[in-house]
């Protein structure tokens, strides 16, 4: 294994053993190979810098590199945006540790050296974000590489496999050129992703959110610090934000729009499909700290005389997130709230049973204008997970779920 610290600044000799220059930069060309050092920049003082290709390296060891060819076979250096520079773009920069779900700073980069027909290929194996790399950076040139290696064996290692890091490139175009995908980021829980991008600079943050798929972007944006939402929306562009809003729950969309300048949110609302926009508008009417401000308008509702099997069959046919389903609201023929049935009760009941017989006692609900404190008290008193919000005629408007309650409680604290 070799380290970037040992290779940067290394002496380079050509096939005849003549000194050519010193390694100034190692380039990965993601378009050719995701982890191979494809180009090596050789600085030669006041002479023009040259570039060695990966198949022109005969051997690599700490502080020393030898080539399979003579100096005249090397190309002159042309800067290329699509090349990832290990020294400039990786060392000392921040990257996302996909496994650890956090932002870390790169202390060193480790390479595997692979011997293939007559030459040596360097491939990035890990990124060092720990004290080993730090010690190497500090001591390099002061102690011999062997002494440093002995020392670092006693230090704890913090190595991230190259496949599980995501680069933070603030320039969107360059992000594409470097083929920095977002597939790894899409695997991170949106709440954790929001925490990650909050730590980054505005440009980095915007470029990452823009690269996410719409569903992940929607969930991440909903989780983002309120103060950052307007700025991200501003830089993403109307079209992208419109797509993201469509992916959001109405209540989340309303929360987001409430943070934006009135004009922006008006424009965005006009771009939403009419049904969605109407719902979001209705939610926006309510005070943030009222039952209406906490509720979502998406819930499952059935007639009270429906039978258990019918309902189960019908719910299976719906496209919904099973993890979130815990209560079904019942209504009578006049569409008035008639009860609530938990999934637990439904599961335990016999097949022919009418839902009305499963409903919980007493029937609890709240008006959208009720204060948040009343909501909290009701959840506490009745041990609820879901609470129906009804209009003046006791018709269901939406539900408040326990996760919203916890969120508001924490915000209050």
């Amino acid at each position: 294994m070799l380290h970037a610290t040992e290779l940067l600044g290394a002496d380079v000799n050509d096939a005849q053993g003549n000194f050519v220059g010193r390694v100034r930069e190692l380039f990965i060309v993601p378009a050719d190979h995701p982890g191979r050092v494809s180009r090596i920049l050789l600085g030669r003082g006041r002479y023009q810098p040259l570039v060695a290709r990966y198949d022109q390296v005969a051997a690599a060891e700490p502080g020393k590199l030898s080539l399979t060819v003579g100096e005249q076979a090397l190309e002159p250096f042309q800067p290329n945006e699509a090349w990832l520079a290990v020294g400039k773009d990786l060392l000392d920069q921040q990257i996302i540790d996909v496994n650890g779900r956090k932002v870390v700073r790169v202390n060193d980069v480790n390479f595997d050296d692979r011997r293939t027909n007559g030459n040596v290929e360097l491939r990035v194996s890990q990124v060092d974000a720990g004290v080993q790399g730090a010690a190497r950076r500090l001591l390099h040139g002061l102690l011999s590489p062997a002494a440093i290696r002995r020392l670092q064996q006693r230090l704890p290692s913090t190595l991230l496999p190259w496949d599980f890091v995501n680069l933070i490139e603030p320039d969107r175009l360059r992000r594409v050129k470097l083929r920095i995908g977002s597939d790894k980021l899409n695997l991170i829980h949106p709440a954790e992703l929001a925490d990650i991008v909050e730590e980054l600079s505005p440009n980095e943050r915007n470029s990452i959110i823009e690269s996410l798929d719409e569903q992940t972007a929607a969930n991440t944006l909903a989780e983002l610090d309120d103060r950052l939402q307007p700025e991200v929306v501003d830089t993403l562009g109307r079209e992208k934000v419109g797509d993201i809003l469509e992916e959001m729950d109405p209540d989340e969309a309303a929360d987001l729009l409430a943070e934006l300048p009135p004009e922006t949110s008006k424009e965005l609302l006009e771009e939403l499909p009419r049904d969605d926009a109407q719902e979001v508008r209705r939610l926006l009417q309510y005070e943030e700290r009222s039952a209406g401000g906490m509720m979502t308008t998406e819930f499952v509702i059935v007639g009270e005389d429906a039978e258990r099997d019918e309902v189960v069959g019908w719910i299976r046919g719906l496209d919904l997130n099973a993890d979130q389903l815990d209560t079904i609201l019942l209504i009578n023929k006049q569409a008035v709230l008639a009860g609530a049935v938990t999934i637990g009760r439904l599961l335990m009941s016999d097949s022919g049973v009418q839902l009305a017989t499963l409903r919980m006692d007493p029937l609890v609900f709240i008006s959208p204008d009720a204060k948040d404190k009343e909501v909290f008290e009701m959840f506490d008193k009745y041990n609820l997970r879901t609470l129906a919000v009804v209009d003046a005629n006791q018709r269901p408007l939406g539900v408040i779920t326990v996760d919203d309650v916890i969120k508001h409680l924490l915000e209050k604290k």
């Binding site: 060392l91 000392d92 500090l138 700025e231 989340e252 059935v302 309902v311 496209d319 979130q324």
Partner: protein, 439 residues
Amino acid sequence: MPELPSNGQAAGWPSRFSRLRAQRRHLWRRFALFLAVVGPGVITSNVDNDAGGITTYSVSGAHYGYALLWSLIPMTIALYVSEEMCARMGVVTGKGLSDLIREEFGFRTTFFLMVIGFLVDLGNVTAEFAGVAASMQIFGVDKYIAVPIAALVVWILVLRGNYRQVEAIFLIACTFYLSYGFSALLAHPKWTETLRAVVVPHFSFQTDYLLTLTALIGTTIAPWQFFYLQAGFVEKKVGPKQYAQARLDVLLGSISCMLIVFFIIVCCGATLFKSGHTNIADAAEAAQALEPLAGKWAKTLFAFGLLNASLFAASILPLSTAHVVCEGLGFEAGLDHKFREAPAFYWLYTALVVIGALIILIPGAPLLKILVLSQVGNGVWLPVVLIFMILLSNRTDLMGDKKNGPIFNTVAWVSSVIMIVLTVVLLYEAIVNPSSIGM
């Protein structure tokens, strides 16, 4: 099929699982929210008038009366120009100063800067506890009681405190600086004379005068404040759009900082200097000497101001330093992490508070020397930080069209060069004639 209601929005139950995300409103971030109200510029400048600062201002007022007041206007300009660079870097790049140094100058440079910065800041923290000891002695409380309690209060306030309480305490602390304004009023200075001294330069090439001037600049423009200020704007998530407000905040901070300096110098100048008590050694002595000249209240207010300033800075400095060092070196930092997750951060923080307090508790610890030494540390450290700041804020790739203009660069370089020259003079004196700087 069950009947669908007439208004039936029955369908989706989409992914809202993420709502349960823990709202990690840890102290540092909540601290930033606090800054959103008051402004990092004002806070930074207020914290900057700490124990060492107040000592220097009192001593220079007592020794030279109003003769150093003229330096306040150039110092305000230098303070504003340097702070504005940091504010601008924070706003444009969204990164802290130690982050930028790390990304642009590499690990080794950052490492040495952080080690030196830590040591200099440790000197400052020690000086804050010295200020606590000195001011509490005026109120008749022994340092062996006052300092451990202060350290514990600081430690608990930051690590265990409810944010609302901390915020209230800091806000009140800021207004307490006005006690120096009242002290100055009680001293009944001739205001026309003081204002004339502010505008009309008075220069002397006596060694003592130069040393006092150096100390004055060194305490007013403290190097750690730049890291703190920039982090303040970054944590506050101030973007380029709010740059104008950020600049105004820094300007207000610089001016209010200098007003306090003005009041302290005037207070001591109008009483101690005029009556011949020019040989005071520190702020506590100044407070004691004020009593027969300006009354008991002037003394109490003066001592209280010193206590307030010391505690205020002692609360913020260790936290800020631990953050800066950890961020620069890539360790986990922040109070939202558990001890196990961010051991470096917690150890640094605790070490600063504990060592700082312990040094003061050594029997016969030379409080004044510690204060002076910490100021010397700041003076040596400042030009280094300034040069890094100037280099960074001149980078087009980082700052775009918001990089330094020619006027800014001129003022910044001139300040740096003056600081370097004065520091060399100070160091030379410290080596050749240690007693001249109070040692």
